[in-house]
Assembly symmetry: C2
DNA sequence: GGCAGACAGTTAGGAGGCTAACGATGATTG
DNA sequence: CAATCATCGTTAGCCTCCTAACTGTCTGCC
């Protein structure tokens, strides 16, 4: 469980109470924000539990899925359809896809290779690069593991109707888009000295 | 950024494609699940950026907020209104509130105390316990930091109308409730030997 | 009183992220 | 061709989280 998070979210009245002291506090925004993090962490925790039971970490699973995608959803899908796969092969591409640094990816591939889930091979053309490949063992593992994983994630969303899911995705996409704009924007005012100047 | 996560979510058609191979894959559920984790991580990342700029980690901030709540939202709020505060004081209570282990809380308090944000005091009654208190420096820091923090979280939700926020909270609460039920339920089938038996 | 068990806080060691720097290789450009 | 710069994968060291085990203190039952 990666997120260090409040266990019990403050009730709405408490947010209103705090808003008296901090005019910048928008109660409905804060409520939405906290529920988003809480629900995300809850959902993540459920699938984490599933992964743990199979002795595989979220990071390793992510790498396996990226490699699996590059095998099972090849770039040349049906004609006239944009390709779904053609996924990453090199450590740098995998790091990009998994949203981690290359250094972290080196560590992940190290342990995956130690456990015989992947194999490194030098690129015959560009000698700076490596090529990472799933082993047969990993293929068997995924064939075995994925159905249960999909059932678990489906069960989390069981309580939502199809139209509710559509609505949720729409709202979440709005949030992600807004977040991306804020990241692209100016960095937050660094009150760097505040920590030590007090 | 705690979540190791796919950078680009698979498009819906790709989920449909994969569902052919895995009948257990519910495309709309998977889509909602992935967007939830992505949006949660995005929102978390934004506020993380804010915290980083002030040299404070998410974990430390969480502890400070719990302690702040116990000071500024006392258990005896307005008459007839359920108390908002009366927050935790001891390391064990803080660990419970922040959803981490007591060992982790020890480490957090260690560094907070090193930076003069909190002070440990032995409990005069029960000599097993400690009492953790915010220092004046921490109070000043929060007074300084929180307005910007609240503006940031409010900005993330800027794109959502009041009714959209209400809807979002309602759907997310459903998900959290469902997740809590799944956690309480039976543990996932542990295919323990699968890793080494292959 | 005395002892088993529960509980608070800490310590030790491991896993998985990160940044910063490195050597090796390839690309670009005079 | 040679110098410079970019890129790839790796290493080293740090931080924060975790689990497991330990010490000291309280509680309950004889």
């Amino acid at each position: 469980m990666p997120l260090l998070l409040l266990k019990d979210l403050p009730r709405y009245e408490c947010l209103l109470e705090s808003a008296k002291e901090f005019p910048d506090l928008d109660p409905s925004a804060a409520e939405a924000y906290l529920h988003l993090l809480r629900a995300g962490d809850d959902a993540f925790g459920i699938s984490q539990r599933n992964l743990d039971a199979h002795g595989i970490s979220q990071g390793r699973f992510c790498v396996l899925m990226l490699l699996w995608r590059s095998v099972h959803l090849p770039a040349t899908a049906s004609p006239g359809v944009k390709p779904c796969g053609g996924g990453p092969r090199t450590p740098a591409e995998l790091a990009e896809g998994a949203n981690v640094t290359r250094a972290t990816m080196t560590g992940l591939i190290d342990t995956l290779e130690r456990d015989s889930f992947v194999k490194r091979e030098p690129d015959p053309v560009d000698r700076r690069m490596m090529s990472v490949r799933l082993t047969a063992k990993a293929e068997r593992f995924l064939q075995d593991f994925l159905p249960g994983h999909f059932r678990t994630t489906a069960q989390i969303m069981t309580t939502l109707s199809e139209s509710e899911r559509k609505t949720l995705v729409r709202l979440l996409t709005k949030i992600s888009t807004q977040a991306a704009e804020m990241v692209g924007g100016p960095a937050p005012v660094a009150a760097e000295p505040c920590l030590n100047a007090l």
